[in-house]
């Protein structure tokens, strides 16, 4: 099973302040721990929301809202994807993220087998992906 660990923004990351050397070292150590345990599948950090945008849909209309966004505590600042055999194991890894304050959200990644493959819409999506998916074969 794959789990995503999502880390929320704080005022500093939203202000675009680069992380301290200590934090970078601690995060590097944490990533090493994940790699050595054979559970690390991927991770990315996100820039401050000021460099991003949102597309909001209202029926037939949509609008584009440029960042920054104000609700700092609900913004995502980065994520890891790990392999874990249970939610508890993913939580145990989340507990080890070296941060003093903030939140790590643990979410299970949807598995291909979660879909009903006979569903017409799923089949159509699959057909489209087969035709169009870039990087389908690396």
């Amino acid at each position: 099973m794959k789990y995503m660990l999502l880390i929320t923004s704080d005022a500093a990351s939203e202000a675009g302040v680069p992380p301290s050397r200590e934090l970078i070292a601690a995060m590097g150590g944490y990533n090493d721990e994940l790699i050595k345990a054979g559970v690390f599948l991927g991770a990315e950090g996100l820039r401050a929301s000021s460099s991003g945008a949102r597309v909001a849909f209202h029926g037939d209309e949509h609008e584009i809202i440029d960042g920054p966004f104000t609700e700092t505590k609900e913004l995502i600042a980065g994520f890891w994807i790990i392999q874990a055999s249970s939610k508890e194991e993913a939580v145990a890894w989340a507990e080890r993220v070296p941060i003093g304050s903030g939140t790590i959200e643990v979410r299970r990644v949807v598995d291909p087998s979660d879909f009903d493959r006979d569903d017409e819409h799923v089949q159509r999506e699959v057909a489209w992906r087969t035709e169009n998916e870039p990087g389908f074969a690396s």
Binding site: A37, F40, D118, S138
Partner: protein, 412 residues
């Protein structure tokens, strides 16, 4: 937290910590069986205390401290105390405090991996020890995964520990001269675990498919511990690439879907990328070994956007290389299929006819099945029908038998 929640949290900590804990203890007490018992004692202590106290922030260190205390108590109880102390004192002199404790644990873990997969152990024992000591699975979970009674696995582990103890296997990374064989034994055990999971079908206990994930995790751990070994990366690549197809290889009701009929959009492309990356690491470290060659074959399929784009010529060449390194009639049969796809059924038939003449796969249903397919494509229908009927009489799978008989009937 209620007790059940805490127990699940403890199990999770155990899965993360147990291999390193056992490895550290094994270096201290020089006995893998005893190390595992001490680690289990620490787990029992956690199960008793943590529901009250909560899971400590540094759970791994807590478990290690408890187990070490038990180890010391254990020595005190032993009669040959003096001898043991003398031995330990000697060892401590030989190995002064490690400057880097993390590196020391890595070494211990590597030693534990080598000892769990030691060639003195029979293959099923190696597999059971691997899952128990390195993956932190309980005896019950291993039994469920292998569809055998718990007592069978428990006994297998007890015997394995006894065998290691009787053989006086040192807790060491093997010497350079032994290294290739010993590493081969480790890789074999990991791949056996993987295949046990990969052969599971829908409806099997969820523990069976979970074995693929366990094997992958172990392979990745090993790739970090011995990063210069080409075949370790080759095996990781092979497992990643095969596992990338898990979501596509059965129908909703669990019937197998052949590789070329699989819906490639359902393959796990993140996993394919990791597999290809591991394969390129393997390639950069030297000539391809048997695992890397099999991974390279899997990579040919993974890299084809649609089945028609498959590079069968390359696959045939890789099977050729594989059959030279690790000759086997099954590899030859696969080569025949690749050759027929690349160069036509007549070329494939030549290889299959040699296999038939060799007589080694006489009772293997896929031999007449493949031969029948080539003959049918060549328009030799009467001969093809005989082969499909023969294949149907050899297979033990009812559904496969039906399919083969259908093909025979179609040929009139």
């Amino acid at each position: 937290m209620n007790t059940a929640t805490t127990h699940r949290a403890i199990e999770a900590v155990w899965r993360i910590e147990s291999a390193r804990l056992i490895a550290t203890l094994a270096r201290m007490v020089r006995d893998v069986g005893l190390a595992e018992e001490l680690a289990q004692d620490a787990l029992v202590a956690a199960l008793e205390q943590w529901p009250e106290s909560g899971v400590p922030r540094n759970a791994g260190a807590w478990l290690t401290a408890i187990a070490k205390r038990r180890a010391i108590d254990n020595w005190r109880r032993q009669e040959n105390l003096q001898k043991k102390y003398a031995m330990l004192a000697h060892d401590l002199e030989q190995a002064p405090d490690e400057p880097d404790p993390d590196a020391a644990i890595d070494d211990d873990l590597l030693r534990l991996i080598f000892i769990s997969c030691h060639p003195v152990l029979a293959k099923p024992a190696r597999v059971a020890m691997t899952l128990r000591l390195l993956c932190g699975l309980s005896t019950d979970e291993i039994a469920r995964a292998f569809l055998v009674p718990t007592a069978t696995i428990a006994q297998r582990i007890v015997r394995a520990k006894r065998t290691l103890s009787a053989a006086n296997v040192p807790f060491e990374v093997p010497s350079r001269s032994e290294f290739p064989e010993r590493l081969g034994s480790v890789l074999e055990a990991v791949y056996l675990v993987f295949n046990e999971g990969y052969s599971a079908t829908t409806g099997d206990d969820w523990m069976r498919p979970a074995l693929c994930q366990e094997a992958l995790r172990l392979g990745r751990i090993l790739a970090e511990l011995v990063p210069k070994e080409s075949e370790v990366h080759g095996l990781v690549a092979l497992m990643e690439l095969q596992a990338s197809r898990i979501g596509a290889r059965t129908t909703a009701v669990g019937l197998p879907i052949l590789l070329l009929d699989q819906d490639r959009a359902r393959w796990d492309h993140l996993q394919i990328q990791r597999g290809l990356a591991a394969l390129s690491r393997s390639t950069s470290l030297g000539a391809l070994g048997p695992y890397a060659l099999q991974a390279a074959i899997a990579a040919c399929h993974a890299s084809a956007r649609i089945p028609d784009e498959t590079d069968w010529g390359q696959i045939a060449a890789l099977y050729e290389a594989l059959s030279q390194l690790a000759p086997s009639p099954v590899v030859e049969l696969n080569r025949a299929v690749a050759v027929s796809m690349a160069f036509g059924p007549a070329a494939g038939l030549d290889i299959v006819d040699e296999l038939v003449a060799g007589g080694t796969l006489a009772n293997y249903h896929l031999l007449p099945s493949v031969r029948g397919d080539f003959l049918a494509k060549l328009g030799r229908h009467a001969e093809a029908r005989v082969e499909f009927e023969r294949a149907a009489s050899l297979t033990r799978n009812a559904r496969e038998r039906t399919l083969l008989l259908e093909r025979a009937v179609e040929l009139g």
